[in-house]
């Protein structure tokens, strides 16, 4: 049964693979610069690599917003996001899996009475806007640089064509890696606290964690989406939304990939912090919206010839509609699962990161997130309110200090959930 619940994540992964490949290889495949088979193989491989080895950063941010701690709840959250994406796509409205999953998590928070970390929420929403602005800026800069370079290079169009193909494949691979790293949190992030997979130690050299196995499953689902359905999407939107020359597509995909990478790289975050610079939040952002930012960037350099203001308006509309839709579906879906199928859709949890007046704050979010990345979120966040059959004495090194007896008394007086 526990594995059955993962189906919604697989469905969302398939949907992401089917829809988002066009953002990376759309122009390249639609213009036949790169064969679909080549694009699909590269995209699948690098999406999986990105998901498995770079997906933890954005997942942690989602957890800070709301740690879905029951399998059935995680199932409903992901299913609601997938259904919202599907519905919005049917209505031909711009949609983002990132925005859908955020809305779904907020719906779960509302249903379970869990506190929402508004700091995280603000950071996430601001990041969506920042992602578009950053992609537009990168795109404009790379475009100007490339244009100046081409003016001086006297390169033959046939040779340029060959280099462009190589470039499209390389930025496509980078884009796929960044997409996997940034968006796997949308697909499998909510299952992290309840992952059924155990860590596997490979000959004492490498530990394949339960979370990585979960992300591998999500990555494979995305790859299946790429192979089975993305070609149709590419043929439909590859020449519609992105009426770009292959060289402009190279610029836009490079800018998009950079932004996705920046918003998902823990190494970059660590480097920035080590040099005393402000860290960029690791947030799942929308590749579809980032790519529109990239097109706008080129449009600005070319004096606004390619800016489609209606598309920008549609994005703003999508920001409102998608999370609300996903939140509503989650809320009512959880209600049905709980009351009709008698499934446990959440477990009572102490609201995280809420400072008690006159007392110590709750365990810091960052420490909780690190724990979540190791696949033991449910045990550690439940410190002081153990699950049935689970001891509350897990005192590993990265576990936050246990609350004092006074705090425990305060916690007991709180009503954990309005729908119990």
């Amino acid at each position: 049964m526990i594995y059955f619940f993962l189906i919604s994540g697989v469905f969302l992964g398939w949907s992401l693979g089917a829809n988002h490949t066009a953002n990376i290889f759309g122009t390249a495949v639609a213009s036949r610069m790169v064969r679909f088979r080549t694009a699909a193989v590269i995209c699948s491989l690098f999406v999986i690599l990105g998901a498995v080895f770079g997906g933890s950063g954005t997942t942690a941010t989602l957890k800070s917003l709301g740690a879905v701690n029951a399998m059935a709840g995680a199932f409903m959250v992901t299913l609601a996001a997938a259904l919202s994406v599907y519905w919005m796509t049917k209505l031909k409205l711009p949609v983002s899996t990132s925005q859908a999953i955020i809305g779904a998590i907020l719906g779960w928070n509302l249903f379970s009475g869990s506190g929402t970390d508004f700091g995280s929420l603000t950071r996430i929403v601001l990041s969506w806007g920042a992602a578009i602005v950053m992609t537009a800026t990168f795109s404009a800069l790379v475009y100007m640089l490339l244009r100046a370079l081409l003016k001086r290079s006297r390169i033959h169009p046939l040779i340029l064509d060959s280099y462009t193909r190589i470039g499209l494949i390389m930025v496509g691979a980078f884009g796929a890696y960044s997409l996997g790293a940034n968006n796997i949190a949308n697909v499998m992030g909510v299952f992290v606290p309840v992952t059924p997979f155990k860590d596997i130690n490979l000959a004492g050299v490498f530990t394949f964690t339960g979370v990585q196995q979960l992300f591998l499953l999500g990555g494979i689902a995305i790859a299946v989406g790429i192979f089975t359905y993305s070609q149709k999407v590419i043929q439909t939107v590859g020449n519609d939304l992105l009426k770009l020359s292959p060289l402009a597509a190279f610029v836009v995909v490079l800018a998009e990939s950079l932004v996705l990478f920046i918003f998902s790289s823990r190494a970059l975050e660590g480097w920035l912090l080590a040099h005393g610079l402000p860290a960029i939040p690791l947030v799942p952002v929308s590749s579809s919206q980032a790519i529109i930012g990239g097109i706008v960037g080129i449009g600005i350099v070319r004096r606004g010839r390619e800016i489609r203001y209606k598309v920008l308006g549609d994005i703003a509309l999508g920001w409102l509609v998608t999370p609300i839709l996903a939140g509503l579906i989650t809320f009512f879906g959880l209600f049905v699962l709980q009351n009709v199928f008698s499934l446990e859709v959440y477990r009572p949890v102490v609201p995280p990161a809420v400072a008690q007046p006159g007392g110590r704050p709750q365990p810091p979010v960052a420490a909780t997130l690190d724990a979540a990345n190791k696949g033991r979120m449910d045990e550690k966040t439940l410190k002081g309110s153990p699950l049935p059959g689970k001891p509350a004495t897990d005192k590993s090194a990265d576990t936050p200090a246990a609350p004092s007896a006074n705090e425990k008394r305060k916690e007991k007086t709180q009503s954990p959930c309005p729908h119990a």
Binding site: K151, R154, P157, L158, I159, D161, S162, R165, S245, P246
Partner: protein
């Protein structure tokens, strides 16, 4: 895959250069042919016709091969149509040169000596416009920013050809020749003039393609 692609592109680049060389050589051969005919060197003239026919065949074969490869391997998708249009119109220029010499060979018009200089000047202006368009098309592939510098030469020589042709026709029709001879001589002036008109057509296309190619 991409390394093979690069090799293929380099071979194709060589073929396009070769095609342009042939068109350029065709113009020089055409000029020689005109001079030979007007000087009465009919033996050499027939040899020149054979040479321009061979060049025209080579140009046709190369053009077909280039077109075929551009489509089969989906090369330069965003400017493929423009490149094919340019090559086809360049082929029309060498075809016109061959056709004009062949008409001279078939009809053997008797050109009075006082008009010989004008016919040669007309042929020179047409050849100059054809040469300029070959250079402009070459620049389109190798030195994109120089295209405009050559295009204005095409237009200049085309205008020159028009002026010479107009003057020649007026002189012919103002003469005491039979009307049938006048019409016959005018017909050949028109034939030669067509070459610069075709060069101008290519220049017009090239101007648009240059704007489209600007990144």
């Amino acid at each position: 895959m991409s390394i093979f692609h690069l090799k293929r592109s380099k071979i194709l680049q060589g073929q396009i250069d070769e095609f342009l060389n042939i068109v350029s050589r065709g113009s020089l051969v055409f000029r020689n042919g005109m001079r030979e005919y007007l000087d009465g060197e009919i033996g050499s003239f027939e040899g020149t016709i054979a040479e321009i026919s061979r060049l025209e065949n080579q140009a046709d074969e190369l053009r077909r091969s280039i077109e075929n490869q551009l489509y089969v391997h989906s090369l330069i998708p965003e400017i493929r149509g423009d490149v094919l249009g340019l090559l086809e119109n360049m082929d029309v220029v060498i075809n016109a040169e061959k056709k004009t010499l062949t008409q001279f060979s078939v009809e053997m018009p008797a050109v009075p000596s006082e008009y010989g200089k004008d016919y040669l000047a007309l042929a020179d202006a047409c050849v100059n416009s054809a040469e300029a368009i070959v250079t402009a098309v070459r620049a389109f592939f190798h030195d994109f920013n120089m295209v405009k510098n050559y295009l204005h030469k095409v237009y200049f020589f085309e205008k020159e050809a028009d002026k010479i042709s107009d003057r020649l026709k007026r002189r012919i029709f103002a003469s005491d020749l039979d009307l049938s001879r006048k019409i016959h001589l005018r017909y050949f002036a028109l034939h030669i003039e067509t070459i610069s008109d075709h060069a101008e057509d290519v220049a017009d296309r090239l101007g648009i393609s240059t704007i489209k190619r600007s990144f």
